[in-house]
């Protein structure tokens, strides 16, 4: 088995070569900034900020809160993918599966089995652990590109299960609504979008902190080591298989958690989240933001979701519809623009936006850029 070398990953390692006395202070400043940002975001439903062109309305409006909440959750999902691809160096094409387990598992518990919120959440997390454990245990028998294909196949199997509505629990292409679920009133209706927004923010912060904690732990160091030099890990007496499987299960279970919040936010399950294209868009987000940086993945996820939503609005604007066909057709397809943007980033900006920012700020090591 060979380790799949992720692009731009050399950066994280290289940045550790800085003078040691500088690091705790920098980390402290970064933490304070992040905390301030989270507090600001948490206050948004009470504020009336508008960002024309980016947000559909002032920040207290339900539409804007909904969009931002989706951004947070997809950003968090991208961070779980970062743990897999950026930290451990595993290129999985099936990450949508664990997210979908969260969405559909939670929906089944709530809607079909009429369970309460907490038991449903625990059972669904259990599903997430079991699914990622089984799929990981099988697919990690092969490495590199073959691993990517096997994870893809499993995710496709999940997608088929959902779309074909085997057993009649998933609602097929129509998805599954939460009409019959026992949910607290605080989580229902447009009036309570702010509560769902806070929930999404909390889940995103929780997932981010969990990934920070795991990557900073001894296991996290092993994950990085497996990515960089598998042989040395073996020489140290650790089985790379176990390290990879740990990363796979942690990342999968966190994705399940995000999926559960996503279900509540959307008020139903949409089979779109099971597709390969959804996993591919996760990959696009992580690479867009920068494979080497955790916050890059978060940024990539948020940016991608915003672009995806707002480019659709742009497409139906009069400026675009009045253009000749040669320009109008490509501009009206957000996925075309995002795909091309992705290609440009891969070609000309290895390391993604995170590396670009670091380069502008002037503290990126030259040799990796």
């Amino acid at each position: 088995m060979t380790v799949t070398q992720a692009p731009g990953v050399g950066k994280t390692v290289a940045s550790k070569g800085k003078p040691p006395q500088n690091r705790p202070r920098k980390r402290w400043i970064g933490g304070a900034l992040a905390l301030a940002l989270v507090v600001l975001l948490a206050l948004l439903p009470k504020l009336a900020l508008s960002v024309p062109g980016v947000l559909p309305g002032p920040t207290y409006s339900a539409g804007t809160l909904q969009l931002l909440a989706v951004c947070f959750l997809i950003g968090a999902l991208a961070v779980t993918y970062h743990l897999l691809f950026g930290v451990t160096g595993m290129l999985s094409f099936g990450h949508a599966l664990y997210f979908a387990v969260g969405v559909y598992g939670f929906a089944t518990c709530l809607q079909t089995w009429h369970l309460g919120l907490l038991p449903s959440a625990l059972i669904t997390l259990g599903f997430g652990v079991v699914t990622s454990l089984i799929v990981g245990a099988i697919s990690l028998r092969v490495g590199g590109i073959a691993f990517a294909m096997v994870t893809l196949a499993f995710a496709q199997a999940g997608s088929l299960l959902v779309y074909r509505n085997l057993g009649g629990h998933t609602g097929g292409e129509e998805g599954l609504g939460l009409t019959d679920a026992k949910l607290p009133d605080a989580l229902l209706g447009v009036v309570n979008t702010a509560n769902l927004y806070w929930l999404a923010l909390a889940v995103a912060v929780l997932v981010y902190l969990a990934v920070v904690w795991v990557s900073g732990s001894r296991v996290g160091a092993m994950m990085t080591a497996v990515r960089e030099n598998e042989l040395r890990v073996q020489v140290l007496g650790v089985r790379p298989y176990v390290v990879r499987l740990t990363a796979f299960v942690v990342s999968g279970t966190l994705a399940t958690l995000v999926g559960m919040a996503y279900l509540l936010l959307q008020g139903g399950a949409n089979p779109q989240v099971t597709t390969t294209n959804f996993t591919l868009s996760l990959l696009v987000m992580v690479v867009l933001g920068g494979v080497g940086a955790r916050w890059g993945a978060l940024l990539g996820g948020i940016l991608y979701t915003l672009l995806d939503q707002r480019l659709g609005v742009l497409a139906s604007s009069s400026t675009v519809t009045s253009l000749p066909d040669v320009l109008r057709v490509p501009l009206s397809q957000p996925l075309f623009l995002l795909g091309m943007l992705f290609v440009v980033i891969v070609m000309f900006l290895p390391g993604g936006l995170a590396a670009a920012f670091a380069r502008i700020a002037g503290h990126a090591p030259k040799e990796t850029l």
Binding site: V150, L160, V287, G339, V343
Partner: protein
């Protein structure tokens, strides 16, 4: 009995489509170590170009010469697009395989979105000669004629590919490149030319497969190429990466398994069985049926 025959021939027709997609993927991976996610876009684009040419003939679109022309145009379109992708993008990322895969992902997403933009997201009926949708009796089974065309095309491609790889100098270079790329380069042969060659070849086969998929399903949709691509990936892994013979055998096995299970169990079970088969093959033989373990690892 007649049901079994019908499922057998329909399954072989589906296997033919899988083979057309998988053989190109397998060669590209074998030589370049690039898992080509744009292959689905090649299929879709080839299919739509064939459709475009055929429907340009209006009332004559359902004649044989037009059908043959649409096959040629589909294959040429797939080849041209593949050449463009290889020369403009993949070549610049020489020896950076993950980035190459990422670029094909981006191209795949963008190209399919473009097809949606130009031809719409809805499926379109494929104009084919009327004979295609008629049936021929084989041992009591009424088999649509398009199945035979797909099988015939795949068998021809298989024979020609084997001749190309086995009897010509280009084939020799490609086979040697699959075995040991560094050694071929060390012998003074420009491997990059053969990279372009396999990409163009793969694109042409995918374009051909796209038109035939339109014929097989009697309709075209922008997502059709990608859903075929997933099973082509499975075929490639089961058959062993880089092996044409493996791809052919795995394509037939996968398609037959899928057809029979979908018929005798519920629809959809066959697709799951295929994934299960993939898991079993990887557990027993991680390199696939005809692959070498070094190559996949």
């Amino acid at each position: 009995m007649s049901v079994v025959v019908l499922l057998l021939i329909t399954g072989l027709g589906l296997g033919a489509l899988y083979f057309l997609a998988a053989s190109g993927l397998s060669l590209i991976y074998g030589l370049m170590r690039v898992l080509n996610f744009a292959h689905g876009a090649f299929l879709t684009l080839g299919g739509y170009l064939g459709y475009k040419v055929a429907s340009a003939f209006g009332p004559d679109s359902r004649t044989w010469p037009v059908f043959l022309l649409s096959l040629v145009v589909g294959a040429a379109g797939g080849a041209a697009f593949a050449a463009l992708v290889e020369l403009v993008l993949i070549r610049r990322l020489y020896e950076r395989e993950i980035e190459q895969v990422l670029v094909t992902v981006g191209i795949g997403l963008a190209a399919v979105a473009l097809v949606v933009g130009i031809w719409g997201a809805d499926a379109r009926p494929y104009p084919a000669p009327a004979w295609m949708s008629q049936v021929t009796g084989v041992l009591g089974a009424q088999v649509p004629n398009s199945r035979f065309v797909c099988i015939l095309a795949a068998v021809l491609v298989f024979v020609l590919l084997n001749l190309l790889l086995g009897k010509t100098r280009y084939g020799l270079i490609i086979r040697a490149g699959v075995e040991n790329r560094a050694m071929v380069a060390a012998l003074g042969i420009d491997v990059r030319k053969s990279f372009t060659a396999v990409f163009v070849l793969g694109g042409a086969l995918a374009g051909l497969g796209g038109v035939l998929a339109g014929l097989y399903n009697a309709s075209l949709s922008p997502g059709g190429g990608d859903s075929l691509l997933i099973f082509a990936f499975i075929v490639v892994v089961i058959g062993g990466l880089g092996s044409i013979r493996g791809a052919a055998i795995a394509a037939v096995v996968v398609a037959l398994l899928q057809q029979f299970a979908n018929y005798y169990a519920t629809s959809g079970v066959g697709d799951l069985m295929v994934v299960l088969a993939l898991a079993v093959v990887l557990l027993v033989r991680p390199a696939g049926l005809f692959g070498r373990s070094v190559r996949i690892a």
